[in-house]
C-alpha cells in the first residue's frame, strides 16, 4: 500500500477542513452544495474509518509532528490502536450520517440557508478526528474547542426559537466548565512530567513516561474525569444533553449522541489507562458507581418523556452509563492485577461504545425521518406511521431491538459481555467489593428491562395504532439517501450482533495494549461462531446460531401453516365488542409509562392533577377532565440552581469593584504597580 494509516487519517481531516472553509463558495445553489459537500464528507469519513480500522488490525503506532503550533511547542499527532478504534467508530457513523444528510438537509431548502450547517458539520467531524489523534495537550484542547464550538453553532441552527438559544447556551456553559477541568488536569500532568520546570511536558509521551505520585495522580484523574463527564453527559452533569440534542437538526443529533459523547470516553480511557497507568481500586469503583447511577437515572428519565428526540437523548445518558460500568470494572480488575478479567470488562465497554454509536445513530436518523415527514416531535400526536413509512418503521425497529439488548442484534452482545464481567467479580480479593458488585449487576438488569419498556413505548406510540393527532397528516416516506444511511446502520447492527468473535478478534489488540492481555484466544476457542470469553464451560453465546435458529423455525412454521392457508378476513377492530372506539382511546406515551412512574417516581419531583372541567348535570358525569402532569429533574434544584444563584451573588459582590469613577480605576492601577514593584 502506498499510504500509511496516518496519512489516510490526515487527508480525511484536511478534506473536512477544506470543505468546512470552502463550501460557502457553492452556496448559490443550495441543492448542489448539499449533494457535493455531503458526498465528499462521506468519502472523508470513510477514509477516517479505513485508517482507524487498518491501524487496529495491524496494531501499529504512527506519529507525525506538525509544523504548526506555538514556537517550540509543535503539534503532535499519533495514531495508535486506541485512537484507531475511536477513529473507526467516528468514521463509520459519520459515513452513515453523511449519506443520510444528503437527503435530510434537503428538507431545509427554501426555509433557511443551510450553508452554516454544512460548514460547521465538516468542522465538527474534523474536530472529532483531531481529538482522537492528538498526542499532546495543546492540539487536544484546540481540537476539543473546535468540536465544542462547531457543535454549538450546529445546535443553534434554528436560532429563532428561544428554547433553542437557551439550550445552546446551557450546552456551551457545561462544555466549557468541563474544558477548564480538562485543561487543569493536563496542566497538572504536564507539570509533573517535568517537575514543574518547563513546558516540554505537554506531550502525551512525556506524561506517559512519568510515574505520578498517588495524590497528584488522583487530583489529575478527578479533574479529567469531571471534565470528560461533563462532555459525556454523566449524572449529575447531564442536564445539557436532553436540552441540546433534541433542538439540533437530526443528523447532527445523531452525530452528537453517537460519537461526540464517545470522544469523552476516549479521553477517560486515554488519561486513565494510557497516561496514568497505575491507580488504586477506588477510582474504578467511582466510575462504576457513577455509571450505574447514570444508567438507571437515564432510563427512568427517558421513560417519562413524550418528545421522541428527548427520549433518545436521555437514553444516551443511560448507555454512556453502561459503557462506564464496563470501564469501571476494567479499572477495578486492573488495580487488583487481574488482567484477563480487566480485558473482558474493557472489551465489553468498548464494544458497547461501537454498538451505541451505530444504533443511536440509527434511532436518531429514524426520528429525523419522522420529524421530516410529520413536522412533529411529540410522540403523543403521532401513531400508525408504520403504514405510511414502512421502511423507516422497520429500520427504527431494528434500532429499538438493538438498544433493548435483544439477541441477535448488537446491543445484546455488549450487555452479555458486561454481565460476564460482573459474574467474574467473585475472583476479587476484597470481600466488600465481592458483595457489592453483584448488586450492580442487578441494577444493570433493571436498566435493560426498563430500556426495553421504553422502546416498546417509543415504537408503539409513534408507529403503531392510529394517528393520535388532531389534523390529518400527509406523511411521506423518507427519501432514498436517508433510507440508505439507515439501512447501512441497521445492517451494521445485525453484523455486530451475529459476528462478535470477528469483531473482538479485531479489537483485541486494544486490550493487550491497555491492560496487558488479549481475550481472543479464549473468546474464539470454540470456533468463529461461538463467543466464549473466559472458557467454553463457563459461558458461551453464538449469535449467528440464535439468528438462524429463530429464522429457521419462523420460516418452517410459516410454510407448514400455509400448506392449506385458509382465508384471512379483514374486519374492524374487535376490542371485546366495544363499538365506539376512537383514536383518542389508545394508550399514549404518558399512560404507557404510568405504572413505572408510580413505582419509580420518587426519583423525580412529580406533580399530577386531575381537575373536572365542566359538568353537565350530576357531579358524577363530568363532561371534561383536565389532566396536568409536570415532571422535573431534581438535579436542577439541588445542584444547578444553587450554583447559578451563588455565582450571581459572587458576581454582584465582585461587581462592586466597578465603581464607574475614573479615580477608582487609577487607584487600582497604582496599587497593582506598587505590588508588582515590591514582589519582583
Amino acid at each position: 500500500m502506498m499510504f500509511t494509516p496516518i496519512e489516510l487519517a490526515s487527508s480525511a481531516i484536511l478534506l473536512f477542513l477544506f470543505l468546512g472553509v470552502f463550501s460557502f463558495l457553492l452556496s448559490w445553489n443550495q441543492r448542489v452544495m448539499i449533494d457535493i459537500c455531503f458526498s465528499l464528507a462521506a468519502i472523508a469519513s470513510f477514509l477516517g474509518f479505513a485508517a482507524g480500522a487498518w491501524t487496529v488490525a495491524n496494531g501499529g503506532t504512527e506519529k507525525i509532528v506538525l509544523l504548526l503550533g506555538l514556537p517550540d511547542l509543535p503539534f503532535h499527532l499519533r495514531l495508535d490502536p486506541l485512537a484507531g478504534f475511536f477513529l473507526t467508530v467516528i468514521g463509520l457513523l459519520s459515513f452513515f450520517v453523511s449519506v443520510y444528510s444528503i437527503g435530510y438537509v434537503r428538507g431545509f431548502i427554501g426555509k433557511r440557508s443551510v450553508t452554516s450547517l454544512v460548514i460547521f458539520y465538516c468542522l465538527f467531524i474534523a474536530g472529532m478526528f483531531m481529538v482522537v489523534m492528538a498526542d499532546d495537550a495543546l492540539i487536544f484542547l484546540i481540537s476539543w474547542e473546535i468540536m465544542a464550538a462547531a457543535s454549538y453553532f450546529l445546535v443553534l441552527f434554528e436560532h429563532e426559537r428561544i428554547e433553542n438559544r437557551r439550550a445552546a447556551f446551557l450546552y456551551l456553559v457545561v462544555a466549557h466548565v468541563g474544558a477548564i477541568a480538562i485543561l487543569l488536569s493536563f496542566g497538572l500532568m504536564a507539570g509533573l512530567a517535568t517537575g514543574f520546570k518547563d513546558f516540554s511536558g505537554y506531550t502525551f509521551d512525556a506524561m506517559r513516561a512519568t510515574q505520578f505520585p498517588v495524590d497528584w495522580a488522583t487530583a489529575a484523574f478527578l479533574l479529567a474525569f469531571f471534565g470528560f463527564a461533563a462532555k459525556a453527559g454523566i449524572v449529575p452533569l447531564h442536564v445539557w444533553l436532553p436540552e441540546a440534542h433534541p433542538v439540533a437538526p437530526s443528523n447532527v443529533s445523531a452525530l452528537m449522541s453517537g460519537v461526540m459523547l464517545k470522544t469523552a470516553i476516549y479521553g477517560i480511557i486515554r488519561v486513565t489507562f494510557d497516561l496514568i497507568k497505575v491507580f488504586p481500586w477506588w477510582w474504578g469503583a467511582l466510575v462504576l458507581v457513577l455509571g450505574l447511577i447514570s444508567a438507571v437515572m437515564g432510563v427512568l428519565y427517558a421513560l417519562m418523556q413524550h418528545d421522541l428526540k428527548r427520549l433518545l437523548a436521555y437514553h444516551s445518558v443511560e448507555n454512556i452509563g453502561i459503557i462506564l460500568i464496563g470501564l469501571g470494572l476494567a479499572m477495578i480488575f486492573t488495580s487488583f492485577k487481574l488482567p484477563l478479567l480487566a480485558a473482558l470488562a474493557l472489551i465489553a465497554g468498548l464494544y458497547h461504545t461501537m454498538n451505541h454509536a451505530v444504533f443511536k445513530g440509527l434511532l436518531f436518523m429514524g426520528a429525523g425521518a419522522v420529524l421530516h415527514a410529520t413536522h412533529e416531535r411529540n410522540m403523543e400526536e403521532m401513531g400508525g406511521l408504520i403504514h405510511q413509512m414502512p421502511w423507516t418503521a422497520a429500520l427504527f425497529l431494528v434500532g429499538c431491538v438493538s438498544i433493548s439488548a435483544l439477541p441477535p442484534f448488537n446491543g445484546f452482545v455488549s450487555e452479555w459481555l458486561t454481565y460476564q464481567a460482573f459474574l467474574l467479580s467473585p475472583a476479587l480479593p476484597s470481600p466488600l467489593l465481592k458483595l457489592l458488585i453483584p448488586l450492580g449487576a442487578a441494577l444493570l438488569a433493571l436498566t435493560g428491562a426498563l430500556a426495553a419498556a421504553c422502546f416498546v413505548k417509543a415504537f408503539g406510540v409513534t408507529f403503531l395504532g392510529h394517528w393520535r393527532g388532531h389534523h390529518n397528516p400527509e406523511v411521506h416516506e423518507a427519501n432514498w439517501p436517508m433510507r440508505l444511511g439507515m439501512i447501512m446502520a441497521a445492517l451494521t447492527c445485525l453484523g455486530l450482533g451475529i459476528l462478535p468473535t470477528m469483531f473482538i478478534g479485531w479489537m483485541d489488540i486494544l486490550a493487550e495494549q491497555l491492560v496487558g492481555t488479549k481475550i481472543g484466544t479464549s473468546a474464539g476457542a470454540y470456533g468463529w461462531m461461538w463467543l466464549t470469553p473466559v472458557a467454553p464451560e463457563r459461558a458461551s453465546y453464538s449469535g449467528i446460531i440464535v439468528f438462524l435458529g429463530i429464522l429457521a423455525v419462523v420460516v418452517s412454521a410459516y410454510l407448514i401453516l400455509h400448506i392449506r392457508p385458509g382465508k384471512i378476513h379483514r374486519v374492524p377492530i374487535w376490542d371485546c365488542g366495544f363499538e365506539k372506539i376512537n383514536q383518542r382511546m389508545q394508550y399514549n406515551a404518558t399512560s404507557f409509562s404510568m405504572p413505572i412512574r408510580r413505582i419509580f417516581g420518587f426519583f423525580f419531583s412529580i406533580r399530577e392533577q386531575v381537575r373536572v372541567g365542566s359538568l353537565s348535570g350530576h357531579a358524577a358525569f363530568p363532561k371534561r377532565l383536565h389532566y396536568y402532569l409536570r415532571i422535573r429533574d431534581r438535579f436542577w434544584g439541588w445542584l444547578y440552581k444553587p450554583i447559578a444563584v451563588s455565582s450571581f451573588w459572587i458576581a454582584r459582590k465582585v461587581g462592586r469593584l466597578q465603581q464607574g469613577r475614573i479615580q477608582a480605576y487609577l487607584i487600582y492601577s497604582f496599587i497593582t504597580i506598587i505590588v508588582l514593584l515590591v514582589f519582583l
Binding site: 470481600p431 466488600l432 458483595l435 457489592l436 448488586l439
Partner: protein, 221 residues
Amino acid sequence: MTIQFAAQIIGFLAALVLLTAFGMLVQRRMTGLIHLFTWQGLFLSISTAVVGFVAGQRHLYISSLLTLSLKVILLPYILHVLVRRLRIQREIETVVNVPLTMLIGVALVIFSYHLTAPVRELSTLVTRSVLAIALATVMIGLLMMITRRHAVTQIIGFLAMENGLFFAATSATYGMPLVVELGVALDILIAAFIFGIFFFHIHTTFDSLDVEQMAKLKEGD
C-alpha cells in the same frame, strides 16, 4: 456427625434465622409477626443444641431448652394474648416503605459482614462465619424498632435483637456462662410482663398503640 456436616447445618439454620429476621421486617400482619418470631426462636434453639453436641459443651443443651420454652412457647403465648385482648388491628403502617426497608436490611447485612471480618480470621470455632449473621439480626431488630409505628411491633423488634445477641454469643464463644443465661432469660420474662401491663395502660390513655400518638406527650408544640 462430622464437623463439616454440623457446620453446614448450623450455616443453614443461620440463613433461616436471617430469613425470619427479614420476614419480620416486611411482614404487615400481627399474627404473622408473632409466628415468624416463634420460628426464629425454634431455629435458634435447634442451632444451639447442634453447637452443644458438636463442641461437647453440655450447658448449651440447657440454654437450648431455655430458649425453646421461653421464646417458642411462653413469649409468643403472652404476645398472642396481648394481641387478642387489645383487639389490635392486623395491618400496621410503616414509617418508610417496604422496598426501602428491605434495601437497608441488605446494606446492614453487608456492613456486618465487613465488620466481623477480623474476628473471622482469628476464631477457630466451627461457628465463626455465623457471627456476621448474628450481628445483622441484631441490627435488623433495631431497624424494625425504628421503622414501625405500633408499640407491639417495637417490642418484637427488641426481642429479635435479643435473639441476635444470643446467637452471637453462641457463635463467638460457645455461649455465655449459665448464670448469665438464666439471668437474661428471667429479665426477658419480666420485661414481657411489664410491657403487657404498660400496653394496657397506654391503650386506655390514648385509645391506640400507635407510637406517633405518644409524640403528644412532649412539652413544647
